[in-house]
């Protein structure tokens, strides 16, 4: 077991190094100042305290979507609507923040709860289509992303837009609904605390409750789960609803913590980032904050690289794709694992032999 963990860590590190090597090749080909670019990419994010706050701040939404993906992927449900539900959750939270006056703190809670519930309800569409009719949750969830985006932009444009502003955006949120900042003079809000608290909750849910157990069982062996009395259909619906709940909550926390108006007119991409970090975390909620920190660090590095050198920040998607591919590759370095296992077995045998020899000598 410990050997396995050691191997996973080595393999993860190898994937990351490989991705950075690919990035390096690109940088040396395209950049006139390759060393400066590399410095900004890798060391840059650690050079100023301000960058650390930025990294933490950009972590918030992807922790939520990452957790949501964890729960759904653990049950083998390839639901990819984290993107759309996060967007729509943000919009719903904004609407409540603008139009429903309420006392402080309570207002934030109500915004987040309503946004989560609406997003969870949206996830019922792919979930029920899957369990009732057997339609692929993957295709319908992908369609759901576009539906929620267009519906959201319609609501923003036709019912929530502040016409006094130059660009399309909503009215200002009421102050009571805005999530206060955690570190003065930064944009880092209490959202990060909410994100970490949700991580703990989801971990407890997945590993300490019967529902979490059911979700994991359905993912590992659906037939076994069915014959041991787990309600498979209900579990499949449950995990997707929770996935929607989490990403909707992420949208609400992001919008209320970072903005003063709702401004999204495109899908912000946090849903796909969530898939990436769920893969990095091997679908284990406990590792999600670390994976999110890493992604956010890479993003910050790419931004610095673009600001100070001639390499565009979209380099990120190449690094991300390479890490993603190798992390998810079961056979990557499998020969090395084979060696580790053989070596371990040989050592064990040698030990036993030595023990046996000793016993023989004693006798």
């Amino acid at each position: 077991m410990r050997k396995n963990l050691k191997f996973e860590i080595i393999r993860g590190a190898a994937s990351i190094l490989l991705a950075l090597a690919v990035a390096m090749i690109f940088i040396f080909i395209i950049s006139d100042v390759p060393f400066e670019a590399l410095y900004n990419l890798i060391i840059g994010p650690f050079t100023k305290l301000r960058y650390l706050w930025l990294i933490l701040e950009r972590m918030i939404p992807i922790v939520f979507t990452g957790l949501g993906v964890c729960v759904m992927f653990q049950a083998n449900q390839f639901n990819l609507a984290g993107e759309g539900t996060l967007f729509f959750g943000g919009l719903v939270a904004a609407a409540v923040a603008i139009y429903l006056p309420m006392p402080p703190v309570l207002h934030i809670i109500v915004c987040i709860v309503i946004a989560s519930v609406v997003a969870a309800a949206a996830m019922l569409i792919p979930a029920l289509l899957k369990t009732k009719l057997g339609a692929s949750e993957m295709v319908s969830s992908l369609m759901l992303n576009y539906i929620l985006l267009q519906l959201g932009v319609y609501i923003l444009n036709w019912h929530m837009a502040d016409r006094t502003q130059g660009a399309t955006m909503s009215h200002l949120f009421q102050d009571t609904a805005r999530i206060p900042t955690l570190v003065p003079r930064t944009n880092l809000s209490w959202g990060i605390i909410i994100a970490l608290a949700m991580t703990a909750l989801v971990a407890l849910f997945m590993y300490r409750t019967k529902w979490g157990y059911a979700i994991r069982m359905v993912g590992q062996n659906q037939s076994f789960a069915k014959y041991s009395g787990i309600k498979v259909a209900g579990t499949i619906v449950l995990c997707q609803v929770i996935g929607g709940l989490l990403s909707g909550m992420g949208g609400a926390v992001e919008v209320l913590g970072y903005y003063d108006r709702f401004k999204w007119r495109q899908l912000p991409g946090y849903g796909w980032d969530g898939v990436t970090i769920a893969i990095l975390a091997k679908n284990n909620p406990v590792f999600i904050p670390f994976a999110a920190f890493f992604m956010s660090y890479l993003k910050q590095g790419c931004n610095l690289m673009q600001t100070y050198t001639d390499v565009p920040a979209e380099m990120l998607s190449i690094i991300q794709a390479v890490i993603f591919l190798f992390f998810a590759a079961e056979q990557f370095l499998s020969k090395y694992r084979q060696k580790l296992v053989v070596k371990g077995a040989k050592e064990e045998l040698a030990e036993k032999k030595a023990e046996g020899g000793q016993k023989g000598a004693e006798a």
Binding site: S136, V139, Y146, I147, L151, Y154, P312, S317, I318, A321
Partner: protein, 308 residues
């Protein structure tokens, strides 16, 4: 309004636009058919289309030839699909995840490359790219209504519909097609009679990449005349839905692709009737979900009847 709508639907330009709009979806849906029949789900179609769309624009501009642009677009499509194959078949990455990674590349990687080549981020304004030619079909173009509907399309539009026939012949009339179907239906059985399962899967993925590549090339060298970020707008995903509803049969998939083309064309026209643009843009996706549900429900019923 209803009269207006009926007027639009029965106009020549509307029917013409259905074929135009269906083209990229049909290419991608046929790509999905071949992959699915070999038992590999290619969800990277969206990314492949984006990569090929950009490749076509860059190479047609640099080499000043639309045909060479198309050739490179197809080549890159094949290579990208084979990369999915390498990770999925050799390194055992879940094929859906490998597809997602390719979609990431298609999304951000294309912006990265376009910026390097042209200095632009949004769309390829600085690239003097070429467009595939439109074809007027002799005799047919002079027939009153039919001429206006069926003649004058982009050459790739015709080829997309020819591909339906080609894919059908490949799957049902060639030894290769038999092997593809065998591998998709029962890899163990195929293996036991000496078919190299992985080789067939690679071939199917490669063909799928070529078709999706043509769909991508059509987007930037026919449907439009430049490359925009995010220009495929989920067509690769819609194609997966079309393939699912068409039961992975070439002809059935063509019909469902046309259905999506019809919905999309209708949506474009509803905008001119003064409906909100966002809701109009939403309709093809809603339509897809509804179509998927109806299809799934009908198969469910059939299976139940079979059991009884």
């Amino acid at each position: 309004m209803l009269n207006q709508l009926i007027g639009i639907i029965f106009s020549e330009t509307f029917v013409f636009s259905i074929f135009r709009i269906t083209t990229p979806i049909l290419f991608a849906a046929l790509a999905a058919v071949i992959a699915e029949r070999a038992g590999v789900t290619n969800i990277g179609l969206e990314g492949i289309m984006m990569i090929s769309a950009l490749t076509g624009v860059i190479f047609s501009a640099k080499l000043q030839s639309a045909w060479l642009g198309l050739l490179f677009a197809i080549l890159l499509g094949v290579l990208t699909a084979l990369m999915i194959g390498f990770f999925a078949l050799k390194l055992k990455t879940d094929i859906i995840l490998a597809g997602i990674a390719v979609n990431m590349l298609g999304n951000g990687g294309t912006i990265f490359v376009m910026f390097l080549v042209s200095g632009d981020r949004g769309y390829s304004a600085n690239l003097a790219s070429k467009v595939m030619p439109a074809i007027n079909i002799p005799i047919l173009q002079n027939i009153p209504i039919l001429g206006k509907i069926l003649s004058g399309h982009n050459i790739l539009t015709y080829f997309a519909f020819i591909c339906v026939l080609l894919v059908w012949i490949l799957l049902y009339k060639t030894p290769m097609g038999l092997q593809i179907r065998a591998v998709g239906e029962s890899p163990n059985a195929a293996d036991s009679v000496g078919v190299s399962v992985n080789r067939i899967k690679y071939i199917a993925l490669g063909l799928s990449g070529a078709l999706a590549g043509m769909g991508g090339a059509f987007m930037s060298m026919g449907y439009m005349s430049s490359f925009n970020t995010n220009m495929t707008a989920g067509r690769g995903f819609i194609a997966l839905a079309a393939e699912a509803m068409g039961r992975a049969e070439p002809v059935g998939t063509m019909l469902t692709s046309l259905l999506f083309g019809f919905a999309d064309a209708l949506a474009n026209n509803m905008q001119s009737l003064g409906l909100p643009q966002e809701l109009v843009a939403m309709t093809p996706y809603v339509f897809t979900v509804v179509g998927l549900a109806i299809y799934a429900a009908s198969t469910l019923k059939k299976n139940r009847k079979k059991l009884e």
